[in-house]
């Protein structure tokens, strides 16, 4: 849908990453190109009594390097990591929030786990020592909106803000919402994207109930979306904070955007057993229409890549219906990190923005025998270098969420 000339768009001007592939966007991007996996045996706790013992953990992150000491005990690790990623995104964009108007800056992050590690610690205190031993900060640290709130306080961002809890689709939904706020003039910039860090026994136990996690015990073989050996997915922690900004304001201050958030759509699957099709195809088509693009305009698709065989088939079918068989390169870099819940599609959007800038499609590491080879041109083995203009990022969240985001390389 075209909009009147001269109306502002939302552009991505800053990226911050804390992920199993690296701390910092540059480290993450290099690891993706090198196929350097962040998946290994869980080290944060002893996983030997759990059916899932592998995950994408972040190593080498120290809250002290990123968060003032006075604030560290108040927050879950997920918020520590988010503060670090947000600072990187602001620095990357060359923005100093203190110099800007507070009500023209917003925070919309995705979260699907909240502060589970913090919460588990306090629950142990509750059951072992009694209610008086539960820390006062539990009241704010566990909550899904804690990261949005702490970012708002830390950077003095008092524009319309919120948190989005749509599991893996949340990162895209946060950027769709950021775009809506910016286009509507309600705010000038939004810290979007998101992270999750639910690497504790309580969180893993909760995730196991989905029955979609892989119990394969080889880090190189456990999460292989679209592969004939697909066996579900592995959990991971981290994600990305993406700074979205009014394109005119960005241009006025000489910023160099990665991409325009050109199209977005979200949908919800019909209930199990319904004769109606899943939402994914409709959502992709709606996002393309929103961007004013034809399917042939898309140069690369960052797929959801569930790793659950039936879900892989459904996604391959939806992409094939929209684009035609093998008509567009498709990739799933998240095989290196596992699925990051609220942070997953945020990191995919960040990776897509980096791909547009560098003119490189990263490969789907680990996958060697795709079952959907007749439908999908999956990028395997090595990155593909080519001029890229538009990227589609697709994501599905547990429970029926489906979202699609179109990014167009900034001119």
């Amino acid at each position: 849908m075209s909009r009147p000339a001269g109306t502002p768009e939302a552009v991505i001007t800053g990226i911050g990453v804390v992920a199993p592939t690296g701390i910092g966007a540059a480290a993450h991007w290099q690891a993706v190109l090198d196929g350097k996996s962040g998946i290994d045996r869980i080290s944060r706790f002893d996983p030997s009594s759990y059916p899932v013992q592998l995950a994408g953990e972040i190593t080498g992150f120290s809250a002290k390097d990123h968060v003032p000491g006075r604030l560290i005990p108040q927050m879950d690790l997920w918020t520590h990591m988010s503060l670090a990623a947000a600072q990187e995104a602001l620095d990357d964009a060359g923005l100093v929030p203190a110099e800007l108007t507070d009500y023209q800056m917003s925070v919309v992050t995705a979260s699907s786990s909240g502060g589970t590690e913090f919460g588990q610690r306090e629950m142990v205190r509750l059951y072992q020592e009694g209610p008086s031993r539960v820390g006062a900060y539990q009241s704010i640290a566990w909550f899904y909106a804690a990261t949005t709130g702490q970012l708002s306080i830390r950077h003095g961002m008092r524009g319309p803000s919120g948190v989005i809890c749509t599991e893996q689709a949340g990162g895209l939904d946060s950027l769709g919402h950021a775009r809506r706020l910016i286009r509507g003039g309600g705010t000038g910039l939004v810290l979007g994207g998101g992270l999750d860090a639910s690497m504790c026994p309580y969180a893993l136990t909760a995730q196991l109930t989905s029955r979609k996690l892989s119990v394969v015990d080889d880090p190189a073989r456990a999460y292989l979306p679209f592969d004939e050996a697909a066996s579900g997915y592995l959990p991971g922690e981290g994600g990305a904070i993406v700074l979205a900004e009014n394109s005119q304001a960005a241009a006025a201050r000489g910023a160099r955007p990665y991409a325009v958030i050109a199209g977005y759509a979200a949908g919800f699957d019909p209930p199990p057993g319904s004769p109606r099709p899943p939402a994914l195809r409709r959502v992709i088509e709606a996002a393309l229409a929103d961007a004013g693009l034809e399917s042939s305009d898309i140069d690369v698709v960052f797929a959801d890549g569930s790793g659950v065989p039936a879900e892989d088939r459904a996604e391959a079918q939806a992409l094939c219906q929209v684009f035609g068989p093998r008509a567009v390169p498709v990739t799933v870099p998240k095989t290196l990190t596992g699925r990051l819940y609220g942070g997953g599609s945020a990191l995919d959007a960040a990776t897509a923005a980096l791909a547009l800038r560098h003119g490189v499609i990263p490969q789907t590491s680990g996958v060697t025998r795709p079952v959907t080879a007749d439908q999908l041109d999956l990028v395997l083995g090595a990155p593909r270098t080519r001029q890229l203009t538009s990227a589609l990022v697709v994501s599905r969240g547990y429970g029926g969420f489906a979202s699609a985001l179109v990014l167009r390389r900034a001119a």
């Binding site: 003032p68 006075r70 604030l71 005990p73 031993r133 006062a136």
Partner: protein, 88 residues
Amino acid sequence: MTAEFTIGDLEEIMNSTIGMDEGVQFTADDDIPFTDRGYDSLAMIELASQLEQRTGIRIPDDVALERLTSPRRTLEFINSHLAAAERG
């Protein structure tokens, strides 16, 4: 409990559960309000809870917000209660 509550004890609580910025140090006659150092009411509730656990002195939330306003006033409050308890 008869020992005096010291500034070191207070710093230990702040460091372990409430949070202290790098390079900040409290002294016994330190009257800088906790609020000026960025601590909010939640921090004061947590401080009261930690003091209760360590000293056995019961500190209701409203008393905490009214009396535990600086390092000096916190020490004063705790030590006067400890002394009173010892006098019986």
